[in-house]
């Protein structure tokens, strides 16, 4: 959701962009981060922003250091990660399996098209009241949101990937009377994998957002609830510290998902090249 789906393949050749000095970039980037920290320190100190609303960065850092010595923090972090992992895994498996099946069977694809187009834009947070009433404020309630939102990301990408399968390859498989599962494994899956990996990357972020949202709004144990508690008890520095933690987790999830995607696709393309030659 927050990840940009890199967009439409542009007509630009990548070679047209000349590489720039890597160390230089890193220096500039570090300067950027330091400047942000400096601004966060100076804005409240100079009185430009009310320190009750935005404490100086040093205080936020102190609150963070305080937090991470408590067991409460690590339990909450663990809860968040477990909810995220369970929800993401369910959505991933269901999305890929359903996507492969629906995408491969013409009638199913046609028949589900309108329903999918209708259900997909429904905001997952609309389900919050239902989740609370039927599943309670524990992990299952939040999982419902996570799975619902993430599932669509994965499903849509997989469907798109299956559609991208070369019709000639599909016909070849049919003429050799491949069984359904053989076709799925040898013809459809290799083409779909890159799309599924995009779904994986997008889904990882969406799942995290909904996990934190569920904790914040429903009150499922985790970092989000910790944040809600900090807010209610007026611990402003703590709130900022927790927001920074969620941001850092977001960055890690992002980088991790990209690394997995790259690795899988790299392996994938080298394997394909070998079988092709």
């Amino acid at each position: 959701m927050t990840i940009r789906t890199a967009a439409p393949p542009s007509t630009t050749t990548p070679a047209a962009r000349r590489p720039r000095g890597g160390t230089n970039r890193a220096l500039w980037g570090t300067a950027g981060v330091l400047s942000l920290i400096l601004v966060l320190e100076l804005l409240p100190r100079s009185g430009a922003v009310d320190a009750r609303f935005l404490p100086p960065f040093s205080e936020i850092a102190a609150a963070l250091a305080d937090r991470i010595t408590t067991g409460e923090f690590w339990t909450a972090l663990g809860d968040t990660l477990v909810t995220w992992a369970i929800g993401f895994s369910i959505a991933l498996v269901v999305g890929i399996v359903l996507g492969m099946v629906i995408g491969s069977v013409g009638i199913l694809r046609d028949a589900t098209a309108s329903t999918i187009e209708f259900l997909r834009p429904i905001p997952s947070v609309a389900l919050i009241p239902l989740a609370v009433l039927m599943l309670g404020t524990g992990r299952p309630g939040t999982l419902l949101l996570v799975v619902y939102a993430t599932f669509w990301q994965v499903l849509v990408q997989v469907l798109y990937g299956v559609q991208d399968v070369d019709p000639v390859a599909r016909d070849t498989a049919r003429s050799y009377r491949f069984r359904f599962l053989t076709t799925a494994r040898t013809v459809v899956w290799p083409t779909t994998l890159p799309f599924a990996m995009t779904g994986f990357r997008l889904g990882a972020t969406v799942a995290l957002i909904l996990t934190i949202t569920g904790e914040l709004i429903i009150g499922t144990p985790g970092l989000g609830r910790l944040l809600a508690v900090a807010q209610q008890s007026g611990q402003v520095s703590s709130m900022y510290a927790l927001v920074i933690v969620t941001g850092l987790i977001g960055v890690l999830v992002n980088l991790g998902a990209r690394a997995v995607e790259r690795r899988v696709l790299h392996w994938h393309s080298s394997v394909r090249r070998e079988t092709a030659s």
């Binding site: 007509t11 000349r18 590489p19 000095g21 890597g22």
Partner: protein, 267 residues
């Protein structure tokens, strides 16, 4: 008209410097067609980008009509090889031709006339409201040429403009370019890797060496100004020039350089 003096271009990067052009000096007089040929990777495009002011040379100067070129100068138009990428896909054919004229501040009626005339001159008078991507490759390149012609430049640079179109279209476009050049009386600098094309179009052919580039020879093309695909290409002089330039390009590919020879004889 155009003076290139001691042009040198070195690309600097973290992995080391690449000398694309070592030393180029030549002139083009007003109303002349000069073709530039050389083996692939001879820095032809780099040269053109330096002349058009898109790229700053490492040393040396480019002077156009008495002014040093430090950015794209006025009175110059460039036609690129990648026709599909040099036209604005969100503008119609007519709008593509009109855009530079608007920027020049021409009146609406003048713009309309120029757009109409130049599209007709390239044989596209009937598709002004189409979008470039609705046309074939050859037609797209015609649009780019019409845009350049409507701009009424004093000098026109063409960077392997026909490298990506089929042979028949290519012959048509070559005649079109000759025709426009004669009618507009402009100076034309035409870069190509096709030896026949350079002779067919040019009054002079500059043969470049391999990288780092220098000029191997400035060949005068002694053919009548009225040219056509059949008789000109069968002219014995055409055959002689082709053999000569072909030989030069082959030697350039093998790394032959006049500066080394000169250095040797100086010893």
């Amino acid at each position: 008209m155009l003076e290139v003096r001691g042009l040198r271009k070195v690309y600097r990067s973290a992995s080391g410097d690449t000398e694309a052009i070592r030393d180029l000096t030549f002139d083009a007089t007003a109303g002349e067609i000069v073709c530039i040929v050389g083996p692939s990777g001879a820095g032809k495009t780099t040269l053109l980008r330096c002349i058009s002011g898109l790229l700053a040379p490492t040393s040396g100067t480019v002077t156009l009509e008495g002014h040093d070129v430090s950015g794209p100068p006025g009175g110059m138009a460039v036609v690129f090889q990648e026709y599909a990428r040099s036209l604005f896909p969100w503008l119609t054919v007519a709008q593509n031709v009109e855009l530079p004229l608007k920027e020049k501040g021409l009146k609406k009626s003048d713009r309309a006339r120029l757009v109409q005339d130049s599209l007709e001159a390239v044989g596209l008078g009937d598709v002004p409201d189409s979008y470039p991507w609705q046309l074939s490759g050859g037609m797209q390149q015609r649009v780019a040429i019409a845009r350049a012609a409507a701009y009424e430049p004093h000098i026109l640079l063409m960077d392997e403009p026909f490298a990506a179109v089929d042979a028949q279209t290519r012959a048509d476009l070559e005649d079109l370019v000759r025709d426009l050049w004669q009618r507009l009386g402009i100076t034309l600098l035409f870069v190509t890797h096709d030896i026949d094309e350079s002779i067919y179009l040019g009054q002079r052919v500059l043969v470049l060496s391999a990288r780092p580039t220098v000029i191997l020879e400035d060949v005068a093309v002694d053919l009548p100004d009225e040219r056509d695909q059949l008789t000109t290409r069968n002219d014995p002089e055409f055959g002689r020039l082709r053999t000569h330039i072909y030989d030069l390009v082959q030697r350039a590919k093998q790394g032959y350089r006049p500066d080394e020879e000169a250095a040797e004889s100086a010893v």
